[in-house]
């Protein structure tokens, strides 16, 4: 019986480690991402009601939505010398040497290499950004709401009668 207990303990351990490793699925959106700049979508998109595509301007034209250029930040935050939180934005604006003070935003949403996703047709189809990204306008720090996996895509594509051919996303 002692051996039995040990065996069960080992099995539980192995199972736990496997589950833990698999639950880390690196290809899924990450909820533990902390950004170098304490940017709040709640303040920008929520309180101030700035449209998403004001900053993510490529979404309707490209596969990428794009991260806003620093110029876009400076456009509104013209006097930011006094704000400590905005130093990270101000530095690259003042010193434009490449890579000197670049902001390295951490990705929240990643897709595997073998998935092709175009933002543009989704915008064209009138989908709200929140359909996939969740209520970003309520978040100070963006965390994923949906587990964006193949089933998530298929659900929506099937409901909306969009192609679910393999070549829609994989090539």
């Amino acid at each position: 019986m002692k051996y039995g207990a040990v065996a069960v303990a080992v099995l539980i351990l192995i199972g736990g480690v496997t589950t833990a490793l698999l639950s880390q699925r690196p290809w899924l959106p990450r909820s533990d991402v902390v950004q170098p700049v304490p940017f709040s979508h709640r303040i920008h998109a929520g309180i101030n009601r700035i449209p998403c595509q004001y900053c993510h301007e490529y979404a309707r034209r490209s596969e990428n939505s794009g991260v806003p250029p620093i110029q876009r930040c400076v456009g509104c935050h013209s006097s930011m010398a006094e704000q400590v939180a905005l130093q990270a934005v101000r530095k690259p604006w003042i010193d434009r040497r490449q890579a000197a003070f670049e902001i390295r935003w951490n990705r929240v949403y990643t897709l595997p290499d073998f998935v092709r996703f175009y933002h543009s047709p989704h915008i064209k189809a009138g989908l709200a950004c929140q359909r996939c990204h969740g209520p970003v306008e309520t978040m100070d720090r963006v965390t994923p709401v949906f587990e964006i996996n193949m089933g998530f895509c298929l659900n929506c594509h099937t409901q909306r009668h969009v192609s679910i051919e393999c070549s829609t996303c994989h090539y």
Partner: protein, 967 residues
Amino acid sequence: MAPEVSRRSFLKLAAATGAAAAVPGCKPAARHLIPYVIPDENVIPGVPSFYATACNECPAGCGVVARVREGRVIKLEGNPVDPIGAGALCARGQSALQGLYNPDRLQRPHRRGADHLINPVQWDDAMAQLGKALGAAGPNQVAFIGPPMGPAYEEIVARWMGAVNSRMRMVYAPIDSARERNLIRYCFGQDLTPLYRIDRARTLLSLGADFLETWYSPVELARQYAEFRIPSTKDGEVRFGTAYYVGTRMSMTAARCDQWLACRPQHEAAVALAMLRVMLDHNLVRPPQGIDPGAVKKFAAAYDPHAIADQSGVSAGMIERMAREFAQAQGALALAGTDDDAAHAAAWMLNAVTGNIGRTVTFAPSAQPPAAAEPGAVIEAMHQGNIKVAVIAHANPVFSMPLQARFAEALGKVPLVVWCGGVPDETAQYAHLLLPINHWLEDWGDGAPRPGISTLRQPTMSRVVYSRPLGDILLESARGAARDRAPEFEDTQSAVRQVWAHRFKNQPGSESFDDFWDRSLRQGGDFRQVNAAAAALRPEVFAKPIELPEAADRPDLTLAAYPHIYLYDGSGADKPWLQEIPEPVSQIVWDAWADIHTGTAQRLGIKENDIVRLAAPGGAIELPAHISDFVHPEVIAVPIGQGHTSYGRYAKLRGANPWLILPPGRMTVAIKAAATRRSRELVSPLYSSSMLARPIVETMSIAEFTQGSKPPPWEEPYPEPYETYPPVEYPVHEWGMTIDLNACTGCGACIAACYAENNVPFVGKEEVRRGHLMSWIRLERYIPATADAPPLLTMPMLCQHCSHAPCEPVCPVFAAVHSNEGLNLQVYNRCIGTRYCENNCPYKVRRFNWFKPQWPEPLNLQLNPDVTVRGAGVMEKCTFCVQRIVAAEVQAKLEDRKVRDGDIVPACAQACPSRAITFGDMKDKHSAMMQRRTEHHHRAYKALDEPLNTLPAITYLRQVYRPREEV
């Protein structure tokens, strides 16, 4: 709008913003997003930009459009506006990318130390050293060696030469048109540029001119040749050009002609002259005004067809037949491409006497060639020690000059040799200062390939290595050497602009220069019609007989060197695509070989792969033998391009270099051949050359074409397929392709384009030997079993996207699956690698990733971010460029319209010089692709479809041929 280089340098880091960064295998996707400080309004991340420029890989100078994603060029395509390439681009042009991203490119300036090793130096140091040396040099003590580089660059060089007070400009390109120019001057008494129009001819005679491969302007001529060779029926009359190739070996060009007539070396002229005699003897021609028939007759009398038949090996009957056809055709054209002046003269005589000047070939006045010193004089000055500084750019004379020219030795006597280039080559081994210069895709420049056509080159991306434009180096060094005489150009860009501004002044029109400049940049140049120049054969030409080689002087064996279709003069050897694409006729990869006739090999006791020693007066080379009947028995043919001792990892130590043993200016030399006891396997991805009478490459004689039907290839035709299941319905599109085998020349541009577009890995010689070649499209090449057939059967073979795809139902996991647009999809991420699909594929077009593919940095920058890089263990194959299909469909959706015919052009179809490949929707009967099928329905067939009922989406159009008759 002209993009500015400085601005684009911001983009370099933006590569990470590509959502689908193509990284091989399991590397985690980019983790960071780095924003622009100021966005470039011309660049949308994820959307490609296109920049027009011009190819610099050979003198033809086709226009090129560079596809740029996130600041890096990922694909080169033909520029449709350009009249030379007309939107197509050959394999060499496609592969320029691998020169740009070559991992062995010199990263920064280097100086050779006392220990003979090279060490990196700062640009400032290097420039200071050069400037000082130039300043110290006396008059005519500075040499500049390089090929013709286009008007703007020539202007920079000329002014630089002026600043250093020297006239030692040596214009040097290993393959140039000097002989053609000289002979035109001899025949017509003026400097003229010929404009060939094969498409206007009905009979074509090539005297050793490989016009589909390396001669003159292959892309342009292939396009014309396709028009000439695609049979058509108009008003009951069948139009189908007749082509003869007289030469020592069956080149790819010869294989596309009706007949290859094996001719003893240096006897091509004799055959042409004998034809002239037959024409006059039988009064087949009336020479046009200005040519005295009597003089011609008198001249031709010396060339008795029977005697010449005995000497040349081309039968008298054949000579007579060719003469008749040539004389009577409505438009005929003779082209000469040998190293024999007589052949060129004879070709012009034939063209002139039959009245084809102005019809199938026109002339335009030549531009002034750059002022240059005699090459011999420069070399002699170097030998004398009179040259203190030699700058060598874009040239590799140590490799491509014969040993007899003693160039390397002369170079050794120059105190400062400055080498400017990309991958350090043999010449760089003699350099004291090695300066990396911008690749033409990174540099400004222009070209004037022929009158009326001015191409403009612009940087398409920021530099890959710490290189500088050659022009900047020259201008800065001139400033350093001689402040008083320094050229007033600021840098290369302003030099190009000023040169163009100068020329613009002389042109009529109301356009402002800024508009003209912008338009030229956008189009990739300035293209104008030029009036043909009048040209008449000089009567004196017929006064002096052309000497024919004496039978007594005839050597036992002649080495005939020819530029390899991909490696060209050797400059292609550093590009793995060009090494890996099988040479069309021999199908050999990554090597050089000696083409030996079966009989000769027997006589010499040589077997396939035995290394033979070819000894010429100037030296000897050793190469493995490739035995075939595709070469004259007295000739051993050797491709030029391999045999590098330097020039990067892909070129180094492969094969042998025939340039070294050729006499200066010649491509042939008498040799002695002997077997050595060694051998080396020549690697080819092709097993059998016999088609076993299977319906793969189908042909049709001209008689069958005229009748409009062809008997089935089988003794008993297979019964009509009995369909067990209802056919699959494709709701919107059903993509398909039509490939015209009469147009296809086998040049391999499609293969190179596919490599570039689809991230197809190259694997190297050993892996090709092990059957691991990855190319998605290959050339099927068979030697016909009967004499009554085209000389060589070729067809591009790629995934047929069968409607009844045998690969699909055997896949256990739906990795091979059909889309509702008729595509046979391969879902890489679903594939588990059972490889059953390839077993069941009758066309054997699927490729398995035996290893994780490797692209040594920075070759990986070329990878197309729109195509997944496949990891080890998955199957892949042609996708009909599904990424382009999806992109076009997305674009159509954004514009609220349907996909139009022509929106989608797969890479192979885009590149094809002869426009053999058309892609479109099979459900749209009006698409160009379906039109082509309908128009040529007599010729349409689907490969292996009759026995297997696979219903391929690719329809081939049978190759129509004229039966080779024994005359």
